[in-house]
Amino acid sequence: MTDAAVHAVDPGQQARLRLSGRQICKSFGPAQVLFDVSIDLHAGEVHALLGENGAGKSTLVKILSGYHQPTSGELVLDQAPVTFADSEVGENHGVILIHQELNLAEQLTVEENIFLGREIKRGWFLDKAAMRAETRKLLDQLQCNIDPRTRIRDLPVSDRQMVEIAKALSKNADILILDEPTAVLTGREVDILFDQIKRLRAQGVAILYISHKLDEIKAIADRVTVLRDGRHITTEPVAGLEKDDMARLMVGRDIKQMFPDREAVQASDIALSVRDVSVPGQVRDAGFDLRRGEVLGFAGIVGAGRTALMEAIIGLRERSSGDIARNGAPVSIKNLQDAKKCGIAYLTKDRKGSGLLLNMDMRPNLTLLALEKFGRVIIDRKAEEAALERAIEAFDIRAADPKTKVGDFSGGNQQKLLLAKVMETDPEVVIIDEPTRGIDIGTKSQIYHFIGDLTKRGKSVILLSSEMPEMLGLSDRIVVMAAGRITGILEGNDRNEHEIMRHATGISGKQGVSVHE
């Protein structure tokens, strides 16, 4: 994935123009978010769409696929102007969008979701066997090993995303739009997805691909369009662009240093010590020490139990055993309130399901976790407003209209708000689970430096991440988990991708056989 393969349109094949948006403008109420944006999608081409959080990428692709109507401008499909009155019309014309935010009915099963609205029938009845077989086939194609009968709400997000992809693939798209599909996927799954994208490209499907991961753009895209503040900046072949160029086009400035400098921390100064934590079926006898001022990374494949361990520590999950000490003194944490009192804060990776109140605006979301800070009897609205202004500033939260419901925010801005919400508690120990999911590269760097500043101020950070660069660039030490156990703690030179993978897959470490080269 790191090798930047360069693809060009196959010269033998005429790059046929399929769908274009011309001079698209879009306003939500008084706030305009797109200004005269034009984009062309060609058959057999992967077109990447780049831009900061809130630049208008998702809005643009929703217009291209009929989920939103443009305020002005037009769509042209195969040289003829079209109007997609709704997404159904768009889909009937072969335009399929995989949304940035998961769009699945949580109480339904995988197969029910995949065929929702276009069920396979036998006579009047559902042909469940056929749908199950078809689902199985789709999932197999994606090497995704989940039971089609599982309810979505019982699946981890990465699997949910794979279901979304399977659903889109099953619709036989002519024009496939993927809005940050890889934000929640693991490396392996990304590779699988890319194989599929390549296959489709070879079949002449026009693909529009949004991602904040510039590696991926280099790896898969033929051309790239950059948006900034709702305006079209440039469209050019990827071949001529380096990652830094792309970042500069997006952000409008150079990103000098992605990660903060790390200083050595005192090994004896333990901020949080965890012993023998078990959660039946999810975590077994996990223990570790978190040093003051340290970033402690937690790596592992999906389902390794990292989230479960952290949630058990802070009292969100029932643990069957385990002792926790803060600064050497044992503490009893039965619920999140207790954890908060111990100065521990937790940033969930599921920002929609457990992070933010999507039907409310920013202010109540920001202060919800630290409500008592804003008055025990009466909430001090002024203080809240002030906190909001500070947070908007500090975390660079960009909402065209600060009163919009958080659910209408761009994905990245939701994530920033969530981070701001957690930081409102002024924690000593921060547990962050996938903190930069869906965040643009400029902001990512800001967040990394923010984490660096935290540790400089003597706070400690536990970082759960599936992004290897982030894990390696930020963490002082890396704890690796596999199947609910801690299989190793990597320090110094051992902190490399290879060692992590070996421990995460159980090849080396406590459970596995240690193979030294």
Partner: protein, 337 residues
């Protein structure tokens, strides 16, 4: 290893579902045991037939309510609707006697009217709430008043009474039996099977689940949300109509007090059966059992003289709570893990 975990998870899931589905059934069995303990006559064929026949009214209506609630709606008007339809049927049949005589045709026409009115009343509920974008609670609260007023008006404040000759012809629909099974029970069973098939085996049912679970997702999946929701109310209306068709020959009359609070009973049966009030999960068999449970509780209270009549409501309330607690307890605990 991760695949191993997954298999484990899915088998235990399978067990879970069984338990969950068994819950209401176990609660019902418990009730039957209590009933038998109190009075042996409880298990007599006659009494059981009575229980099931009675459960048919509420049960059939509740099958319809399962659709409405699964799709995230609510219908408070069913009791009034039943009264209104009964009234209209009676008026029509009484009028027809003059021209058609008190024969099968008259009854069939009455039945036809009932079905038309049921579908129409359901459509009104559905369309006003979806097209008018008004909460179903308000719409059906409104139509509850409207339908009840209409029957009061038709009856001139009194009782509408079916012609006694027609009653004779119509009687078997309630009092008859086929192979020893009372007709209402058979109708109930048929409605439940049809409901089960529709909810669980057709695209329509799937759409109800999807809408109740997440309307936005449903809309994005090209489901005509308004149409499906309206249809759930139509189905509810149809079920009310069917219940009415077997109700009318029982008492042969309709008045403003017919069907009072049936909406509460129907919704209770649905919820007891495990359907979620917030929508997205519905279970027809649960509803059927819920309806039988409610009827059985009423029957058990009649088995004994030990409890003051004044406390009937209290005992009934307690049993409902305890039954639901027993039936939910275990899987909830698992979930909260």
């Amino acid at each position: 290893m991760s695949s191993l975990e997954r298999t484990e998870a899915s088998t235990s899931k399978g067990l879970n579902i069984d338990f969950k589905a068994l819950g209401p059934f176990l609660a019902l069995v418990a009730l039957f045991v209590i009933g038998t303990g109190i009075n042996e006559a409880f298990l007599s064929g006659g009494n059981l037939a009575n229980i099931f026949t009675r459960a048919a009214f509420i049960g059939i209506i509740a099958v319809g309510a399962t659709f409405v609630i699964t799709a995230g709606g609510i219908d408070l008007s069913v009791g009034s609707m039943a009264a209104f339809i009964s009234g209209a049927m009676i008026v029509v049949m009484n009028t027809l006697v003059a021209t058609l005589g008190a024969g099968i045709e008259t009854v069939l026409l009455g039945v036809l009217i009932s079905i038309v009115l049921g579908i129409g009343a359901g459509a009104v509920n559905g369309l006003v709430s979806t097209k008018g974008k008004i909460e179903a609670f308000i719409v059906t609260l409104g139509t509850m008043g409207i339908y009840r007023s209409l029957v009061t008006y038709m009856a001139d404040g009194g009782t509408l009474s079916l012609d006694f000759e027609v009653r004779g012809v119509y009687r078997p629909v309630y009092y008859g039996d086929i192979l020893g099974i009372p007709v209402p029970v058979l109708v109930f069973f048929a409605v439940a099977v049809a409901g089960y098939v529709l909810l669980n085996m057709t695209p329509f049912g799937r759409k109800c689940f999807a809408i109740g679970s997440n309307e936005q997702v449903a809309r994005y999946s090209a489901i005509h949300v308004d149409r499906v929701k309206t249809l759930t109310y139509v189905i509810q209306g149809l079920c009310v109509s069917i219940a009415t068709i077997i109700y009318v020959p029982r008492l042969g009359s309709a008045s403003s007090s017919t069907g009072v609070l049936w909406e509460l009973e129907a919704i209770a049966a649905v919820i007891i059966g495990g359907t979620m009030l917030k929508g997205g999960y519905g279970r027809i068999w649960g509803t059927v059992i819920g309806a039988i449970m409610l009827t059985t509780i009423g029957n058990i209270l009649n088995l004994t003289d030990a409890i003051s009549n004044y406390l009937n409501g209290a005992v009934q309330g307690l049993i409902i709570i305890v039954a639901v607690f027993l039936q939910r307890g275990d899987w909830r605990r698992k979930k909260s893990k």
